[in-house]
């Protein structure tokens, strides 16, 4: 029956962060989206900035000169981090979304352990790989000065 007056709880993007969502997979969902958006932003800029190479060597070198500072290197590194996460987590998601690694349908036995538990090794492996990649990139940035 119709409710005469209704209010919604706080909703929208803030609810990505809280409101009962405390699971690791829940946060990965959020980070995946945010890193995806960040990568798209970068891609758009990237297309325009790298377009400078059509103008010849001097223009390009000038641009590189300008870009050669620690702040931009660090931002570039963040892009790399976003990519490392989005790529590996995305691979994990593709595997899961095609229903691999989450176990077959079965009769649940209380206390219930379901697909979350089944896919957790996959998730952990993925996160370890992300960690290694981020570290390798970070080491590259700091220790080797690129």
């Amino acid at each position: 029956m119709a409710v005469s007056e209704k209010t919604m709880r706080p909703s929208g993007i803030l609810r990505w962060l809280g409101g009962g969502r405390r699971g690791l997979e829940g946060y990965l969902y959020v980070i995946h989206r945010i890193s995806g958006l960040a990568l798209l932003m970068f891609l758009m800029m990237h297309v325009f900035f790298t377009g400078v190479r059509l103008l010849g060597e001097e223009a390009w070198s000038g641009l590189m000169e300008m870009a050669n500072n620690p702040v931009l290197h660090f931002l570039e590194y963040l892009v790399y981090v976003a990519f490392a996460f989005h790529a590996v987590n995305g691979l994990r998601l593709i595997i899961i979304e095609l229903a691999f690694g989450i176990g077959p349908p079965d009769e649940p036995v209380y206390p219930y352990k379901g697909s979350i538990h089944k896919q957790r090794p996959l998730m952990l492996i993925a996160m370890v790989i992300v960690g290694i990649l981020i570290f390798a990139g970070g080491f590259d940035l700091v220790a080797m000065g690129h």
Binding site: K6, S11, G12, R15, G20, G23, A99, P105, Y112, S115
Partner: protein, 266 residues
């Protein structure tokens, strides 16, 4: 048994007023559920507090609410399992609220209806018994445990940002019927399932499976649903295994006969 006092912090919503938190001290003993606590508040402290409840045993799905930040059922959550000092109670998120802890679940029921949650088959009125193997049963049984409490819908991050998203509960119901060996409705359902506010918005946050009180595992159902849709797209979807061919059973010799009729028919 010693009682201890736990503070129930309840988010009150009265029509036309701002939401407000209200606190009630409740004497709690071991074995007491959140539902028992609410009942005690209503009888002894504040009879205006409203929430839904019915079966007390976690099968009717009435008393879904957000308990200490997690959607769940009040009747099968023991107070002392989650806190010995204070617990907070809010109405299910991602739903409009009618009053206090009473959410308006109509949007969920409407979405559920929209995915055709019934057997679509040409054999509804036949006479001879149907067959289904235990294997075929297992294929969908888990997904039919849903009690429509709305916990998964309240936990879903996609529903939080998209009120039109079908959500875990209806999608699971769709998969349950899709995978039933007696059903032939995949082609009818796939239109709405492949639709814009549907499966493609789910990225396995798995919050729904985490909060489901009945072990339904909606996230699993949705991923299998996605697989079926993809396989269907490339023409590789298969129907659940063949119907078992029965052997005539062996009659039992330990069954008595009914006694002769003792009333003479006129």
């Amino acid at each position: 048994m010693t009682d201890q006092t736990v503070t129930f912090r309840v988010r009150r919503h009265q029509p036309g007023q701002e939401d407000a938190w209200q606190e009630y001290p409740v004497a709690v003993h071991p074995g007491m559920t959140v539902l028992d606590g609410l009942q005690q508040i209503k009888e002894q402290q504040d009879s205006s507090l409203a929430w839904r409840h019915s079966c007390r045993m976690g099968i009717c799905g009435s008393c879904g609410m957000v308990i200490n930040g997690q959607p769940g059922l009040a009747c099968n959550t023991q107070v002392l399992d989650i806190s010995d000092r204070r617990i907070s109670l809010e109405p299910l998120s991602n739903f409009p609220v009618a009053r206090d802890l009473v959410p308006d679940l109509e949007p969920m029921f409407d979405k559920h209806r929209s995915i055709k949650p019934f057997l679509i088959a040409g054999q509804q009125d036949g006479d001879e018994p149907l067959r289904q193997s235990p294997r075929q049963l297992t294929d969908y049984l888990q997904f039919s445990y849903c009690i429509k409490c709305g916990a998964c819908m309240a936990a879903c991050p996609t529903l939080a940002s998209d009120a039109d998203f079908l959500g875990p509960m209806p999608l699971t119901a769709a998969h349950r019927y899709n995978r039933d060996s007696r059903d032939d409705g995949f082609d009818q359902r796939k239109q709405s399932l492949g639709d814009h506010h549907s499966i493609s918005h789910c990225h396995y946050a798995a919050e729904c499976s985490k909060v489901c009180p009945k072990g339904v595992d909606p996230a699993k159902a949705i991923q299998y649903l996605k697989r079926d849709l993809v396989l269907d797209l490339v023409g590789l979807r298969r129907r659940p295994g063949p119907v078992p061919q029965g052997s005539p059973g062996t009659p039992r010799d330990d069954i008595p006969k009914a006694p002769e009729f003792t009333v003479k028919k006129p």
